[in-house]
Symmetry: C2
Subunit: 417 residues, 2 copies
Amino acid sequence: MRSNNIYLDYNATTPLAPEVVDCLREVNPHYWGNPSSPYLRGLLVKEKIEEARTNIAKLVGTPHSEDIIFTSGGTESNNMVIFGTTKYLKEWNEKQKSPLSGIPHVITTNVEHDSVILPIKRLQEDGLIDVTIVPVTKKGVIVAEDLLSAVRPNTCLITMMMANNETGVIMPVAEIGRQLQRVNRKRIADGLIKILYHTDAAQAIGKIPVDVEDLLVDYLTIVGHKFYGPRIGSLYVRGPNSATPIYPMFYGGGQENGIRPGTENAPMTIGLGKAAALAAQFFNQNQSLFICFREYLEEKLKERFGECAVIHFRDPDIPFLPNTCSVSLLTNEKFSGSDILRKCHRVEASVGAACHSQDKPSAILSNSGLSPELARSTIRLSIGLLTSKSEIDDAVQDLANAIRILKDGKKKKENLS
Amino acid sequence: MRSNNIYLDYNATTPLAPEVVDCLREVNPHYWGNPSSPYLRGLLVKEKIEEARTNIAKLVGTPHSEDIIFTSGGTESNNMVIFGTTKYLKEWNEKQKSPLSGIPHVITTNVEHDSVILPIKRLQEDGLIDVTIVPVTKKGVIVAEDLLSAVRPNTCLITMMMANNETGVIMPVAEIGRQLQRVNRKRIADGLIKILYHTDAAQAIGKIPVDVEDLLVDYLTIVGHKFYGPRIGSLYVRGPNSATPIYPMFYGGGQENGIRPGTENAPMTIGLGKAAALAAQFFNQNQSLFICFREYLEEKLKERFGECAVIHFRDPDIPFLPNTCSVSLLTNEKFSGSDILRKCHRVEASVGAACHSQDKPSAILSNSGLSPELARSTIRLSIGLLTSKSEIDDAVQDLANAIRILKDGKKKKENLS
């Protein structure tokens, strides 16, 4: 890897924390027993996995480690919650004197990650659920009342991300959680199905406080590689199959109480536990570092590009991720964010989610209130624990150079024609 | 880990090959970019993943690396194939002038792993598929004619493991593959749906030749931790969505051509590629070692226990895994395999699949022709690349000691009463 590259795409993925690298180095050759085996080698691995589970539970604010289910990642966690919806209504109806007719209704927003919106669309296309997609405001945020006004008798699930990966906007998950508690109390009294509440906290963990008791969610998606952990994930479920139903997507061995069968990926699970412990332990100082460096980055952008640097999603009333800077570098030539990044020699950043095309303007940005022109010009700079001030200085210089190269290229073309 | 323990449960899981440990040590801190990112850091990881895919393709005998889909493990690979069946018939019907009525029919055997049989049972219970479970003979093997005589007009899938994890018996996958080609040619001429053919090769890879061109399967399950690789897996699909339909279980980012979305577990994928390269390179010498040491183990058991050591599944006409010894150590006291293993000080082995209870006799063994008494007394000893002759000597001694302890305990009890 060229060491002089400047990585400013920590929202796409993070490196492993050095302590996690060390942990995996220790674990990989030694803790390889099958955790389901009844002898010492297996039991020791099982014990390590349970330690990891406890650390992850603590990270999201619960003492109930049994509420953490290990999965292969965020996509699996989100799909598991969403696909469960159809079974949830069916099972609930079976226990009722007056079952609800019709299909389950799901509420979500228009800025979710593909791993939430695409399984929902799949179920909708298959005629298995009804969906309401509640739009965010022009400031990129969901208004609690808008979301809750979409509730219907058959509503089974509300799923809303905790913080947006592209805009950095933080959604009012806790506020909706509190209001939903009241809604659910009334619904239960009225013989309606309880609305389950899910948040994808992929972008939130390690950057802002994430506490399931505060958020009042039933499910919460945890993604290791967004907080310096391995490429696996987990799902918080508030009392799996006691307080909150959860339905497996796979069937097989009895691992994870049958909720997620398959031989445990022990080494990475142990590594995830390590990453969780670190994220909890260093939360305050990491957050301060993010704030300090992002503010420094934004200052430098303003210094260098003046009015041409338009930093989005900075409404004083709307909270945002401490590490994320969504910025347009406006030029007379209307260069796109992709154009600029392609000409950067050192900056590694993106114009949207990594799993999306980098060439067309992001629908998330348009939905969040940016004009097509602004959306097209936007660059997402997300900083992380390895970012330094000198890197930021160099990154701003590199962006300026890229624009100069683009301008020179355009002039040459014009002179030739 | 107590270093004097003797691991003889390589069919449950294997340690990482030292070269894979080294590979992960190198990869973990460096190749962490998001393979979907458009800049160098992502592209280098993408390249490494494609190298891994090529190595895995080669391991199973195909030059088409695009036929390998990465998954979280064998459970996911098996579930993906089986859950696809319902969609396969539906889509096929949509393209036909004379669609088939009724639901898909699946054929399997009565000795499959839970990650095959349980998703099948789930779909059957939900009324989504019909199932024929073809029994193996009293020698633990499937007879091709038995299996193919279960074919019906609506048969969509045959799924049969390549080698049994408990008995070590190798199934006639290639023979059935050849016969099925003829069956399918006739079916297609008759306007019937092509029967797709899947084998779970978890226990076969690295132990016996696995070549998709020889086996003539459409799908083949690959499980890293059974051949000294990481705890992830993959699925071979013969021409995904061109020659062979494959349906995602998750929806999200476009990874793996949308067949298996979710940010790639790059380090482990690269490690899996390394394990695949090693398994291919050292296949012959590994296999010789397995045969030599298993034969040595069986000799020593015979030497020590004489007639009381009954080694199962050794019919001259039935091939078996070179590393697997399924043995009953018969005593007048009728101690169970679990009893004996619990009293072992050093031997780590099992009486069946790790994900099953170690206390009741395995249904796989009963289905494979063992009497309840023999099934109950059976111990599975599976050897691996770290097994040594001195370990085998010590293991046999440890088993003898365990039986002595059990006998002494029983005598003491009898004297007391």
